[in-house]
Symmetry: C2
């Protein structure tokens, strides 16, 4: 109830000041109705969310992806959304986007609300014993703070659900929570008899976590139905301070995989160790050449091409509260990378991150061997000015400069005998960064709308550390995007034990209800 109380205080006492800075806001009454509707229906919302999360949704698992799309179709139809359909590109087997729309009488503008229903790959062995990726569990709080498993509440009970509870499952926060927040925001307005201020379209993607390889194609082939005055993207976390944020840009991203080769068959480390080169040790030397101990990337030209922030963006960045000390404590980090730079500064530089590394085994399965190969998974985040292909080529050239023969497949026997160092380097489809000017009318309208739902100042971020393929909307539809995240910042997004705090879902519902009523 705390937010609500502050909202009341703000609206009661802060209104004249707010009016000088922000466009007029929708009456408090509408948000109150939205909240009441949610409170009365939160058991049903949680049940639906849980069922949604129980559907495995890793791209490549085609059968399950289709079931997810069907589930979203049903959610939309149940809510009276019209023209519900699956949108596809030229590849019939790629995960479809789910589309629907709602016309608003007298509205002149149309916005499209975006979230994605697919999730990051999972390694079930890494999850806590009691909650597997697609067997959602409810916990009394964060697992790493001792949150314990709670039975899902009895729906017949009139008891409110503790909003500090968290639901643990793959995609709880990234990004099925987004789908659920958007659709329930619409549901709450509709059931409360509140008309949106704009025409609404809904677009739920099914392969965002695979780098959206078919999104451009889907947009291109469905241009007509996707006409709009802007996209609102629901993905990512709110600010670490817990405050809501509106995000006007994202970094780009490209994934690479490096495989270094050792002997053709695994060898006994005693009989050959010291003489047959160890591919894990080679990979270690190669990766060590890419980054120094302060985290600075040593690859030639890595920091070139960066487009600096505008004055407007720089001013916004100065206004953002710095979570650095909080995050150091929370994550157990004594000394961040970046030689003293702030988190926010570092997130606005290109990065090279080692997502994973593997050769043979460690722990109970470790054996005294020279492995046959060693593999590293990298992701390169890109800022405005970087091109994903150019950036990944810099890595390739760096590997060549370290004396490697670089190929994109397994080496032949002849190649193994010709080249002392062979690396298979794969670059997966990536995309560039994108930024919408803070002064764009869509940005201004969204910022104003979300600000109505909270009393403290909204955090406005020119560019997020994370990535979304937002450049595609510009490229194919000449359209603008603004991102409005809802997840708690400590949601283990992309990793094991991903979770969403229920209060964040409820807050997100109000955020999107406000956006649907925005003055645009």
């Amino acid at each position: 109830m705390q937010n609500f109380f502050f909202l009341f205080l703000f609206l009661a006492f802060g209104q004249s000041q707010a009016q000088t800075q922000l466009p007029p806001i929708k009456p408090l009454q509408n948000l109150t109705s939205v909240r009441s509707y949610r409170e009365a229906n939160e058991h049903a919302m949680l049940r639906e969310f849980r069922n949604f999360l129980a559907l495995p949704n890793v791209v490549g698992d085609s059968l399950n992806i289709v079931q997810n799309a069907d589930f979203v179709v049903e959610m939309m139809k149940k809510r009276g959304i019209e023209n519900v359909q699956l949108l596809r590109g030229t590849k019939p087997d790629a995960p479809p986007a789910v589309f629907g729309e709602v016309k608003t009488k007298g509205a002149t503008k149309t916005i499209i609300l975006y979230a994605h229903y697919d999730g990051q790959p999972v390694n079930p062995l890494e999850w806590s014993r009691d909650g597997k990726p697609f067997a959602p569990v409810l916990r009394s709080g964060a697992l790493d703070k001792g949150g314990e498993i709670i039975r899902f509440p009895d729906e017949k009970s009139a008891m409110r659900i503790n909003p500090e509870y968290r639901i643990y499952a793959r995609s709880a926060s990234d990004d099925k929570g987004g789908v659920v927040a958007i659709l329930n925001a619409y549901e709450a307005l509709r059931k409360s008899g509140i008309q949106p201020s704009v025409n609404l379209k809904f677009f739920f993607e099914g392969e965002e976590e695979a780098g959206s390889p078919n999104l451009g194609d889907i947009l291109e082939r469905n241009k007509a139905v996707l006409q709009s005055d802007g996209w609102i993207i629901c993905d990512g976390p709110v600010h670490q301070s817990g405050r809501k944020q509106v995000v006007c840009g994202v970094r780009g991203d490209v994934n690479m995989e490096i495989t270094v080769f050792g002997p053709k068959r695994p060898l006994h480390s005693g009989h050959y160790g010291n003489w047959v080169p160890n591919p894990a040790q080679k990979l270690v030397l190669l990766l060590a050449s890419m980054k120094d101990s302060s985290g600075r990337v040593l690859v030639e030209g890595f920091y070139d091409d960066v487009v600096p922030f505008t004055d407007e963006e720089s001013a916004a960045i100065r206004a953002i509260p710095h979570p650095d000390e909080q995050m150091k404590r929370e994550l157990g980090v004594a000394k961040p990378d970046g030689a003293g730079a702030l988190l926010l500064e570092m997130l606005n530089l290109p990065s090279l991150n080692l997502n994973g590394i593997r050769a043979a085994n460690v722990g109970a399965m470790a054996a005294n061997v020279i492995p046959t190969q060693a593999v590293a998974a990298l992701d390169l985040r890109l800022v405005l000015g970087n091109d994903w292909q150019r950036q990944s080529e810099k890595i390739k050239r760096h590997i060549q400069k370290q004396g490697y023969y670089v190929i994109d497949r397994e080496p032949s026997d002849e190649e193994r005998l010709q080249h002392a160092n062979i690396a298979k380097v794969r670059t997966f489809p990536g995309y560039n960064a994108q930024r919408t000017p803070l002064s764009h009318p869509l940005a201004k309208a969204v910022i104003a709308a979300v600000q109505t739902t909270i009393s403290e100042p909204l955090v406005v971020v020119p560019s997020l550390g994370g990535s979304l393929p937002l450049y595609l909307f510009e490229k194919h539809l000449k359209s603008t995007t603004v991102t409005v995240p809802i997840a708690n910042h400590d949601n283990n997004q992309h990793a094991e034990n991903e979770n969403l705090r229920l209060q964040n879902l409820w807050n997100g519902l109000e955020t999107f209800a406000a956006i649907m009523m925005m003055r645009y």
Copy 2:
């Protein structure tokens, strides 16, 4: 039949020369009988071996280890071996050694024949789809040379089994093959009515691959029954040239595990990458500091303490054929470590080998995360003069010198905030190298005996690259050891798709029959 033909030629025409160098040999007739017995019984031998290999035998899997020990007990009883019993140390749950003995009328000397029935850890996912670690398959040849699965032969058939066939399973070569060769050698002598020249004892260990943590204790508590005039160890591969070898020493070994810590929970690489230090990158830098690109270990004092070879040993080493060019071709190695040194030279230096490395995931399960930790498994091979504790301490000190706070457990929250670099370093129980002088009567007797089974010169190795806890026999029993390997060199020992070529098993049987008849 080829070997046999050469043996005949050698004995027919080379005898006078041989007699000046070697003690008199047992009549050829005895080895002929041994071979005939094997040929008549190879189907039954293969069946028994297959059943033995089907028993999982990784140390720690206590129930299965006991079943293996029981299986060996039965094998021995079936062969009329006396006083068969399980020997234990003070820990009742540790894998027992299986003991038995055979008295020879009139013999003045006693030898103990050693092999181990446990195997290295397995990762079934790494094995070829058709042959899991404990589901033995027969192949027409080496898997990596296109060997295909063959049905196990019909025992009723009078057809000989193609000796180029290989049996694939964990421990086929390391070291259940050793148990089977020794026991069938005895069986062949007994059934052929040939009396051994010495009293025989049999000792089959059950935790060699775990570093023999209880072997010293077992030897100490069973001193009386283990009195002998020397141990013959059956483990390891024959020379890469295919020639039989007798080995008078082994390297020592100690395993270590290094864990480097990142954030307390896994993080989205976009939202924190560049600022929260990545433990995989830290580990990469740390490991890169330990070894240069030529494979030379950079850890201070790593090559100290090495006791040089005696003149006798140096002469023996000069006589060993160098398999370097063959192995480069066979393994696909363009440039070995060691800056031009020979394999045999490098195997006589201490080594540091990266057995495995792991952080988060690669391949289909890779996700855009900063992992919470990164782990490396190392093994250090030791030569005469190295002490396993001193050697592992050098690694620890090196890690500290790189700015690490080194502990042997998970760090506390306070420690994470105090230390930028934290490494958990575990050192597992290890052991030192061991060498028996080539001029020791036991070594001379074994060399002479094994030489009787082949026409080409035996390879005599002062010290093997691999490790066995042979120093324990010296320490607890003041006893001497000589090692006689039988496995093919390309047996994938310790790794996936371990295998034994049947001809090597049959050759091993004759080798041990000759040893049981040796002039000592």
